[in-house]
């Protein structure tokens, strides 16, 4: 009885509150928007990016310095606009359009990270070492060192090491996150991944003989996979064969005395099958295409400064 009374009280009081609340809505919505976007006047590069990055791919090539996009524990400076223009052409010609040609533009549009953020210098650490680039969760590729672009676009090795390998490597992670590769990949050299110790002796040398294509590939199987793809497609066939011959000289007792070459090639078979079956990418065709395109850039056949919008 008591309980019921209380409930009645409570209900009536709540209704009172409700009645009072609804009785004072005289404000009308202001017609003026309070959302203001920063006004920066468009320049020729902005128009070129609109036509070449935003419209076809919905990618923001974010060349204006924005500290929140970077890492606040490093001192960084913006890109020179001339250098950002060159990098935008290189990424378009060597990455985006290569994937367009191999798989189709909807693939590139669907999977390529939505922001590329270039800055002028590397990320210098207080011990004198530095970081070349990072990728964050498949959404953004942070490319550093545009100041050095003239210096590092003269040879394919430099072009790959300083700018492109990072992109292909990180893009491979995105593909893997979308469709996983066969667990058999990890099994091939599963006993000898060394995590962070990959850059220290004795792991920093002789990795080919142990069945890893790079020192970093020894970190873990996901990095191994991304290193396999990015190094395979960005290097000429002769270079790969050179590595394989070196790898063939060492046998590994952990893996039934297989040579480094046999181990790497077993992994490559899985990589090749994965890229073909899951993504319809023939990595040999991809490599041939990238070689041709790299040569076009190094030989100066591609005008990296042209901002004409067609």
């Amino acid at each position: 009885m008591n309980m019921k009374k209380n409930i009645f009280y409570i209900l009536s009081l709540m209704m009172m509150g409700g009645a009072v609340l609804t009785s004072c809505s005289e404000d009308s919505l202001s017609p003026a928007s309070v959302v203001v976007t920063d006004r920066t006047e468009e320049n020729a590069f902005d128009r070129w990016l609109e036509a070449n990055y935003v419209n076809p791919y919905n990618i923001d090539f974010h060349y204006r310095y924005t500290d929140a996009e970077g890492h606040m524990n490093y001192y960084m400076v913006p890109s020179r606009i001339e250098d950002a223009i060159k990098l935008a052409h290189i990424v378009k010609y060597l990455c985006l359009e290569t994937y367009d040609q191999m798989v189709g533009v909807s693939f590139t549009r669907g999977y390529f990270p939505k922001m590329i953020y270039p800055t002028g210098t590397w990320e210098f650490k207080n011990n004198g070492t530095y970081i070349l680039g990072t990728a964050e969760g498949g959404k953004k590729i942070f490319l550093m060192g545009t100041h050095y672009i003239d210096q590092y676009t003269k040879t394919a090795e430099d072009l790959n090491h300083y700018y492109l390998k990072t992109i292909h490597h990180e893009f491979t992670h995105i593909l893997n996150q979308t469709k996983d590769y066969s667990p058999e990949f990890r099994q091939i050299t599963t006993k000898t991944y060394v995590n962070d110790a990959w850059s220290d002796a004795p792991y920093n040398v002789g990795y080919l003989g142990r069945g890893y294509i790079s020192a970093y590939a020894q970190d873990e199987d996901r990095e191994d996979f991304a290193e396999m793809v990015s190094l395979y497609i960005t290097n000429p066939a002769e270079k790969w064969e050179e590595w394989m011959q070196e790898a063939a000289q060492t046998t590994n007792s952990e893996y039934d005395n297989k040579t480094g070459r046999q181990l790497i090639e077993a992994k490559l078979d899985i990589v090749r099958a994965y890229m073909q079956e899951q993504w319809d990418i023939d990595i040999d065709k991809m490599r041939a295409e990238l070689q041709k395109r790299q040569n076009d850039v190094i030989s100066g056949k591609i005008d990296l400064t042209d901002l004409t919008v067609y």
Partner: protein, 524 residues
């Protein structure tokens, strides 16, 4: 029961609380939404920046405590871009010959922010990091706008004031009343004349002209301020209170070396030049100067040369004055060998300094076969032939494990100084590494520091220097190598030649060390 009562009271309170929100006469504190007000403020800032026909003088202070001093820019804005004029030394330092144009934006961030958001070597000079100075000079290039006046805009650095116990690093844009180039010419003129060690008067002052710091003695209390050059003298980072008057701006009269306060007209300080004044005006960083065998005449502006008398130890080496200039003349060296003389300059009070001038020819006196040796380990010795290369540069041909490598060398003809850089390519060959790995490796230089404990790894930009001198004791031409690393924090103490599996200097490709030479020197 008690519980229920509390419930009921609470619920009764509810409508009372809601009732209070229904006042009809409530007004917004501001007429417009904050984002709209911000937008208007930024537009006001943009108009102010653009509307100054000659642009703005910008006295810029990197580092949260202004430890590097102040530097003057002139900035001319249009609707998209900014043209940056810097002091002559900075323009030359970044390899430019004049002002440089880049983009800027005004945006809402930590307040209204002026950001120089594409690179401009001049405005970003103090912000640019490197492997040797990973924070650059801790200079800001994004600024929060504090206030906008008719002729002055107050800003503070967005990033670098960061230490919470420090005040903001405040800087000012001051509207120019003459073309930016004219204003900067006057600033440069002031900077080229200002060589004061200190100034005497009612508020005695000492200057550090390298780091642009002034330390005043205000009635027994020491007060330090960074300063920057203006068109008429110097301005302090912030005012100093002298007997109730805030002083910050000084006119400098170079003919009398007097500084006069603009705020307290009775405050005049009598300055005096630094002891190494003549070295500085001659542009020398050391007291030795190497010249070739040809006749050479060096003329430099030196407004205060009349403070000195000169003596020389060689008849072929003389110094004279011509108006505001000093003229150093070196006659042709026909003696057939390297020779040197000493110039001594003396003040009226007896203070003096010296410059040693040498005449030396590369082909005759410097080039030839040296040995790369170690001061701490006599067993180390590698043959190294010093020569000019086909490209006009200089190099040592170094033989290590019967393989020939090429050390690229920067040779400074004016000081007979060699310079070798870290992470440079010396060539490739078949080597046995110190870890006993054998193979064909690409050799890149690296240096050690902290008693050989650390190395410069894959970083270019660490330099070993050597002054090539004739050492009478050992009767040989010698260059002992020396150098600093990481903002002059460490002394370099050895060469560590490193082998890489590819022609790429990186952690991925490093194989091991080819050769280590602690405390290195070259001897001919």
């Amino acid at each position: 029961m008690k519980k229920n009562k509390i419930f009921i009271f609470l619920l009764m309170a509810l409508p009372v609380l809601t009732l209070t929100s229904c006042l009809k006469d409530q007004e917004d504190t501001f007429e417009k939404a904050s984002s709209l007000r911000m937008d208007e403020y930024l537009e006001t800032a943009r108009q102010a920046l653009i509307s100054a026909p000659y642009g703005w003088a910008f006295e810029y202070y990197p580092e949260s405590e202004q430890l590097y001093g102040g530097y003057t820019y002139a900035l001319v804005f249009d609707s998209k871009q900014v043209t940056v004029y810097s002091e002559d030394w900075l323009t030359a330092e970044v390899g430019a010959t004049g002002p440089e144009t880049s983009y800027y934006s005004l945006r809402s961030d930590m307040g209204p922010v002026l950001s120089f958001d594409t690179y401009n070597a001049q405005i970003h000079y103090f912000s640019t990091p490197s492997s040797l100075a990973y924070q650059g000079y801790q200079g800001d290039f994004e600024f929060v706008i504090d206030s906008i006046g008719a002729d002055i805009i107050k800003l503070h650095g967005k990033r670098v004031h960061g230490k919470s116990d420090l005040p903001q690093n405040t800087m000012y844009l001051r509207k120019l009343t003459e073309p930016a180039a004219n204003y900067m010419a006057k600033v440069n003129d002031q900077a080229s004349r200002f060589f004061l060690a200190g100034a005497q008067g009612s508020v005695p002052c000492e200057f550090d002209i390298d780091l642009r710091q002034a330390t005043f003695n205000v009635n027994g209390t020491s007060v330090n301020r960074a300063y920057a050059f203006t068109d008429h003298g110097i301005r302090l980072y912030s005012p100093v209170n002298v007997n109730g008057v805030n002083i910050s701006d000084f006119r400098y009269d170079d003919t009398t070396m007097q500084l006069t306060s603009s705020e307290a007209s009775n405050l005049t300080l009598q300055g005096d030049v630094v002891d190494d004044y003549l070295l500085r005006v001659l542009g020398l960083t050391s007291t030795t100067l190497a010249l070739g065998d040809d006749e050479a005449v060096t003329k430099k502006q030196a407004y205060h040369h009349d403070l000195y008398t000169f003596t020389t130890t060689a008849d072929w080496l003389t110094i004279a004055t011509e108006g505001n200039q000093i003229v150093m003349t070196v006659q042709e060296n026909a003696s057939g060998h390297m020779r040197s003389g000493v110039l001594t300059f003396t003040r009226a009070d007896g203070r003096s300094g010296q410059i040693t001038v040498a005449q030396v020819e590369f082909d005759k006196d410097i080039a030839g076969t040296y040995q790369l040796k170690s001061l701490s380990d006599e067993t180390i010795s590698y043959p190294a032939v010093f020569q000019k290369n086909a490209a006009g540069g200089y190099e040592f041909l170094l033989t290590v494990q019967e393989q020939q490598l090429t050390i690229p060398v920067v040779y400074n003809v004016t000081s007979a100084q060699i310079r070798i850089e870290s992470a440079t390519y010396w060539g490739n060959g078949d080597f046995t590494l110190m870890n006993n790995t054998q193979g064909n490796f690409h050799a890149y230089s690296a240096f050690t520091y902290s008693n050989g404990q650390y190395w410069t790894a894959y970083n270019a930009g660490a330099y070993y220097y050597g002054d090539i001198e004739y050492n009478e004791e050992v009767d040989a031409t010698v260059a002992v190598l020396y150098g600093k690393y990481n903002n002059n924090r460490y002394d370099l103490d050895g060469i560590l030649l490193t082998g890489y599996t590819q022609k790429l200097c990186s952690a991925d490709t490093r194989a091991g060390y080819i050769m280590e030479v602690p405390a290195p020197y070259f001897i001919k």
